[in-house]
Symmetry: C2
Subunit: 362 residues, 2 copies
């Protein structure tokens, strides 16, 4: 890490502590975002599962609870056209589970949300002017990106390879999130979908630090103070932490999810919940369908047909069909409030003497 | 890291610097082992590709060049019985490559070496009494293990999961190598062959540190000083580094291998060279056969039929069929002599003030 980068990034984002709470659609609540930002870190509100109106309402909740900078997270995949043939094949693959759950395998299912960042969401961003916009799956079209930039938001996005980091830098991001393979939830990959070539945090962070001139935020496998220290040693200017925030009371997750975080045996990458590879605690659907299924329709449309199974199982206290997103370091996380977690993670660096620590790590 | 562990490990192994050169069969030379040990680290001589006589001769070469402690590396897989049907299917799969290379697809091929640690190799160990025995693929039968222990060798072995680390500790190893998914060469997994559940170094090291009471050696993705600092921050008491030593003049590797280390685009896990998953720079055989082939016969028998293709291609200056083992951090490595590399890696920790650095990292 270059000391100037670390200080520059915190200053640029208008925060005090180099800790970013990762956006986790379905688990992050406005209360979590506000608690992290109030503690001096950067809370991130995911837009993925919201309609534009819901997104606006959630931002208002966050703004009401903190006057500190916040990030909003925006998805940049291309929307998949309806594909009735693939949906039908997927429905057929899941039919036996529907029957077992007492559901009609032919029942209509609502579409699954996760709209890509578009005109409507951009208007919300323009209205609420978040201090930071964090993108996933690349970046939006240049015109939309420019509109976000013009509201004054700093731009960050995830890279899972060195090539993606260079691509993001060339398009003007203010910082790159180096997302190692250990990370929970959806991989941010956008130039290649070859999961065999994804790098672990340990190898990825320094290679991206060497490849780009903007500050690098390390993500993936960081759930305690040791991880924070290691990330800075590898050259990161900040950390983005997701899984550990699932253990906070502010996380809006089902009891079966909390239970899996305590009792789960391990994580794997799977596409069976949404159509895109994401890391979660292994459960029945992953085990029985195979982690990466050729039958899963493209992101995000695979999710719709899993929805009714998930709802029925969760109502019965089982997470058989729930996406239990978690990173490989989930066993390291300790339950505590989001504000305390933010300060504790940041203290790993502060303990070493602030500027002196940065000197030593550079 | 517990400071006592770090000091205890170096003392236990009888070395000065907490840097272990990873055993790399086919690349590690006696000169490399001696150079590392003479520099104060621990050189490791792999037995994998040697007959007992060759192994003895190699140890003699090392002993003639250094009076410092050395490690020998011993393979603990179960030998696979001959399986003519699978060999024939593998031969058929490779036949077109034989024809393209002007070779007879029915030509006899020598068997591929890589015998598991056995009576004959144990006699060599008993004769030469290495200070450290490092095992791969678990541990040998208890009787053989006890014989190695009785020569006074300290025992270390690789764990790729927390369960494997606990298994090794229960059988009395003196230290556990936490081998993250970034590592080059053969995965050390022995309790499970599910590659989807292998952890990255960032997540694996602290979980193993928390799970066992013996010192932990971090391996995988460590090719420069940043990696060494990060490994210690995660709780490691030493590092084991392989790939960076491929860039030393002491590495006994073909020109095509050296070229791939400079020009290679990335690594992946593959079983096509030996039948067991190992990480190498992606080349033609991996791309065209698929990284993990169901047709590859069990380790190590897949190697025999690849041998003639490899030899012919290397003679023509191509690495199309060569196992180009390398870890994910290979782009971070810098060419330098093995002794200088050992001292440079160790200086990453020493710079921080020795005991004080250990205090800060604990």
């Amino acid at each position: 890490m270059d000391k100037a980068d670390a200080k520059a990034l915190v200053t640029l984002l208008g925060i005090e502590l180099p800790v970013i709470q990762a956006p986790m659609a379905g688990a992050t609540t406005p209360a979590m975002v506000a608690a992290v930002s109030n503690a001096g870190g950067l809370g991130s509100l995911p837009s993925g599962l919201y309609s534009p109106d819901q997104f606006a309402a959630a931002i208002e909740q966050v703004r009401a609870a903190t006057c500190r900078p916040i990030a909003v997270n925006l998805l940049c995949h291309r929307a998949s056209p309806d594909d009735p043939v693939r949906q039908q094949a997927w429905r057929q693959r899941l039919a036996a589970y529907y029957v077992e759950a007492g559901l009609d395998p032919a029942m209509p299912v609502p579409s699954g949300g996760r709209a890509p960042f578009d005109e409507a969401l951009c208007e919300v961003v323009e209205h609420y002017r978040p201090e930071v916009a964090s993108f996933h799956f690349g970046l939006p079209d240049p015109a939309l990106l420019e509109r976000v930039r013009r509201v004054g938001a700093k731009l960050i996005s995830s890279a899972t390879t060195v090539a993606e980091a260079r691509w993001l830098e060339a398009r003007g991001v203010d910082a790159v999130i180096a997302m190692g393979a250990e990370a929970g939830g959806h991989r941010g990959n956008f130039l290649s979908d070859d999961m065999n070539m994804q790098l672990g945090t340990f190898a990825l962070v320094p290679q991206i630090v060497d490849a780009v001139s903007v500050p690098v935020i390390a993500a993936g496998g960081i759930s305690d103070q040791r991880g924070v220290r290691a990330a800075f040693a590898l050259g990161a200017s900040a950390v983005q932490v997701g899984t550990a925030y699932l253990f906070t009371p502010e996380a809006g997750i089902a009891p079966v999810y909390r239970q899996a975080l305590t009792e789960g045996k391990g994580t794997a990458l799977t596409n069976v919940f949404t159509g895109r590879p994401a890391r979660g605690i292994v459960n029945r659907l992953m085990s029985e369908l195979g982690l990466m299924s050729d039958l899963a329709p493209p992101y995000p449309t695979a999710a719709s047909l899993v929805g009714p199974l998930r709802a029925a199982a969760e109502a019965a206290g089982r997470g058989d069909y729930s996406p239990l997103w978690a990173g490989q370091a989930f066993p390291l996380a300790k339950p505590m409030p989001a504000a305390a977690l933010t300060r504790w993670l940041a203290a790993a660096i502060a303990e070493e003497g602030g500027e002196d620590a940065a000197d030593r790590a550079s």
